[in-house]
């Protein structure tokens, strides 16, 4: 097993535990935590693929930076959406939000 496979298995672990969190959590904030885990795993995987093979290192580093930028933008928007949902429905449990209309 090459050293890159270890990093990739860690990234796959982050993906799987994030999917488990999304399916298992009841509140929307818990689901956001799962999404952050998945995005972090994606960054780790991109980074390991470029850094530990003959591929130019800059591609992996810039890719990881772009993933971080997308995660920051996504967290900002999710905070606003959670705010609106909690104002309108008075709770943020995924099972209780059964209507999309305000």
């Amino acid at each position: 097993m090459s050293i890159m496979t270890i990093y990739h298995l860690v990234a796959i672990f982050l993906l799987c535990i994030g999917i488990f969190g999304i399916a298992y959590r009841r509140t929307l904030v818990g689901i956001v935590l799962g999404i952050e885990l998945i995005l972090n795993g994606a960054g780790l995987s991109i980074m390991a693929s470029a850094q530990l093979t003959p591929t130019p290192n800059e591609i992996g580093q810039v890719g990881a930076l772009l993933v971080m930028g997308i995660a920051a933008a996504e967290a900002t928007l999710l905070l606003a959406i959670l705010l609106v949902v909690s104002r309108r429905f008075k709770n943020v449990e995924a099972g209780k939000l059964i209507t999309m209309r305000g």
Binding site: F13, Q61, A71
Partner: protein, 174 residues
């Protein structure tokens, strides 16, 4: 002798950070209190930052700490605070066993396929990665990768404008 010692140290650092990531991941998804879950997420983020340092990319590791631990987790803290987190754990109460089984199945399915693919098709990898100068990274970002760079700045602007508009929505109605 010296080389062997540093190689052993590298393995210890690698598996130590992997242990931190695994522990933090389980705390994140299984903890009853959302604040504790967020602490688990921060632990995981620090572990991934350590792996970035180990891959000879200190700049990205520092960016990970700055952006994720510094900004994103504070945003999620605000989300927990502003959405009426109630005492006794937001995720407390009995969760049906059926849900746990389905969630575990959803998690295991990609693990099996992606894991076997990653093990079978792994190319030979170098043991000691080279460090890239930050100036070269900046040049790369501004010459061949200028379009993604501009697009990510546009995305961040739009996301922040959208967040502000969503935040003011209620007041306009009244």
């Amino acid at each position: 002798m010296d080389n062997l010692a540093s190689e052993n140290l590298a393995w210890v650092v690698l598996f130590g950070h992997i242990a931190i990531i695994v522990a933090g991941g389980f705390i994140t998804v299984l903890s009853e209190s959302l604040v504790r879950a967020l602490m688990g997420l921060i632990l995981t983020l620090f572990g991934v930052a350590g792996l970035f340092f180990l891959m000879a990319a200190p700049f990205i590791g520092l960016m990970q700490i700055l952006i994720y631990v510094g900004a994103v987790s504070v945003l999620i803290f605000f989300a927990i605070m502003l959405t009426n987190a109630w005492p006794g754990g937001d995720e407390s109460g009995n969760i049906s066993g059926k849900k746990v089984i389905f969630a575990a199945l959803a998690a295991i399915a990609p693990a099996v396929f992606l894991g076997s693919a990653a093990i079978r098709t792994a190319p030979p990898s170098v043991f000691v990665p080279e460090e890239t100068q930050v100036s070269e990274l900046g040049k790369f970002l501004l010459e061949p990768y200028i379009l993604p760079f501009e697009l990510i700045s546009l995305l961040l602007t739009v996301a922040m404008a959208g967040a502000v508009i969503l935040g003011f929505e209620r007041r306009k109605k009244k």
